[in-house]
Symmetry: C2
Subunit: 239 residues, 2 copies
């Protein structure tokens, strides 16, 4: 006789939400973007094993684009890949957060220093608009994007594309921690005072002040995350 339909075992991969809103150039890019978004959101917590076969089935593709996407994610330090043993979502931790902050603390002031003298009025207006958008935004996911765009808008005039790409990559990595930061503050807002002060200093071409504000901004954020990990002790990544 027929067995009752198997209750399909729940999988962490159920959290994947492939976005078909775009025409991705290649399947690899599609898989990479989808996995990346899920990891940064926290929908795929640290430690989640990523089996190529399972992912391929989810995406309706073969294992090949999945393999290439996993390689890309590995180079972004979002997953750990061990030869012949597979990929696992990188664990988050207080130490890793501090690591990310140390890098941001080094790169972003340097970018800002190079950028401020060359910032256009157009860029300054864009930055102001992004602050307003952040005031209005409620969704945590988009908040990371807006915060990232605000910072990058201020740095973009620095030239030095590799420096900017690195800075942006670290901002993206920080998105994994941003939710904790927001949760700790009990509200869905960034430290907008710092943002406004940075923009003001940039408008006045006061590089020294802008950098001082940025460094304080990063230090307080690092402190908030550190306290969060200290109180919560463990990880408990999922919402």
């Amino acid at each position: 006789m027929l067995d009752p339909p198997l209750p399909k075992p729940p999988s962490p991969l159920d959290a994947l939400r492939p976005s078909l809103a775009f025409r991705w150039r290649t399947a690899t890019e599609f898989v990479e973007a989808t996995l990346k978004a899920a990891i940064l959101d926290g929908r795929l917590p640290g430690g989640t094993p990523l089996r190529q076969e399972e992912l391929a089935a989810r995406f309706g593709l073969s294992r090949m684009p999945v393999r290439e996407a996993l390689r890309q994610l590995e180079s972004q330090a979002l997953i750990d890949v061990l030869p012949h043993r597979g990929a696992v979502v990188t664990e988050i931790s207080a130490a890793d957060a501090a690591d990310t902050y140390a890098i941001r603390r080094a790169l972003e002031p340097a970018a800002l220093r190079l950028s401020i003298p060359r910032l256009s009025d157009h860029a300054l207006r864009d930055a102001a608009a992004l602050i307003d958008e952040m005031d209005a935004e409620q969704e945590a996911g988009r908040m990371g994007l807006l915060n990232r765009r605000f910072h990058m808008t201020l740095y973009a005039a620095a030239g030095h594309p590799r420096l900017l790409a690195l800075a942006e990559q670290q901002l993206i990595a920080f998105d994994r921690y941003l939710r904790f930061h927001l949760a700790s503050q009990g509200r869905a807002h960034m430290a907008q005072e710092d943002h406004r002060a940075m923009l003001e200093a940039a408008r006045a071409r006061d590089t020294g002040t802008a950098i001082a504000v940025l460094e304080r901004h990063l230090d307080t954020a690092a402190g908030t995350i550190a306290r969060f990990f200290a109180t919560r002790g463990g990880v408990t990544e999922a919402s």
Copy 2:
């Protein structure tokens, strides 16, 4: 009638020297390491197209490990990959050199500041030994490795593995320019005075002096490369 044996057309890939000295874990790692070494040496100059088929034939492998290796190199900014159009060795330029230096100038002082208070006597002895090795070394290829190891030895106590990995990656990228630096100085030696001064300051736990020396070290190196490009105008990468 039979044609005379074709004089095999010379290819930039003739410069590849696959090292069979190691047992590589996977074929992908083997291809990646070989290509990387050739690019950093300057044996594969900027602009060289890298055809998957041709590389696969050279290595006696299929195109698959070549594809994965190219992805890895792309993530290290050593090659540019355009979808459906193939990979090309990244061009070097005065602007790119300045970009790399801007990153090093941001990351390495930060790493040094974190590291010096925690440096062990063992690490200090290692660094001293590396300075002596550099004095004796004549080969340009190994000089890059020794220079890298010296710097990383001083930074290693910083913890923050991601920061250290980034710093090392930039040091590696700098290898592409190191030959020009050495050529400009008319001798096969690094600025060993700076290295010795950094080590002395580190021994004395004088973080401020060590960072000042490091920043001067990087600034003079950047200046040397900039002058080199200014005089030579073009690229002319190959030895």
